[in-house]
């Protein structure tokens, strides 16, 4: 999405009425302005949106969870055993 330093351009264009309605609904639902919604959508469609660092996001949530890594690894090993049993049984 364009940043605050990017100058805005005023323009008059025709917009599909259904898309306009959907954009207004989205703006109301998310408490944003119509301009925000249209800019975000244009940014997405032209591939200029910032890629969210999903792995960092996961790490952040994991840290907040307080679950130690050893527990996650142990649980994973247990699940693998189960899945493996099922694989051999179903075969």
């Amino acid at each position: 999405m364009g940043n605050m330093n990017t100058p805005a351009v005023k323009t008059t264009i025709e917009i599909d009425s259904n898309l306009f309605y959907l954009a207004k609904r989205k703006a109301l639902k998310e408490g944003k302005t119509l301009k925000d919604i249209v800019n975000a959508s244009l940014s997405d469609s032209f591939g200029t949106a910032k890629t969210v660092d999903l792995l960092s996001k996961i790490q952040e949530i994991t840290q907040q969870s307080g679950i130690p890594e050893t527990e996650l690894q142990r649980s994973g090993r247990g699940i693998r055993k189960e899945l493996s049993k099922k694989y051999y049984k179903d075969a």
Partner: protein, 159 residues
Amino acid sequence: MRRSLFIDSNVWFSAFYRSGTCSDLIQNSIKQGFELYISELVLEEVIRNIELKLPHTLQNFIDYIHLHDIIVLEKPHIQALKKYEFLAQKQDLPILVSAIESPCEFFITGNIKDFKVKKIASKHNLSILTPAQFMKILDITDYTLPHNSDHWSRDVFTS
């Protein structure tokens, strides 16, 4: 051919925890143009564990898989396992076979002791490496190396 690696579940779990070897490995491999693979069984294991322990991260993980076009390999048919018996512990064998029968060059796991590393490398052209070992390869490898450069890194840890 793009260079490729298979990432085992324990590496994913470590990567969820902190910025460090495992998350650097995943992020740097993607940056360096590696194709990332996972198998149906590994994916199911990771998703089930996330659902159980870290449910709020599930959507982020699924988005990550989609965003980076991580390839999900099918479970092998049970008959296919016979040829590879004794190369890994029984529970890891279907996962290993998925990787052997794919174009993957590397299989990255924290439990390297569960695999017959030398045999797998010599007979099936798949290098089983720990995250730290693979990071050394990433560090010493120039991204601009031609992709068909004689299995440039396969010998590093298999001798």
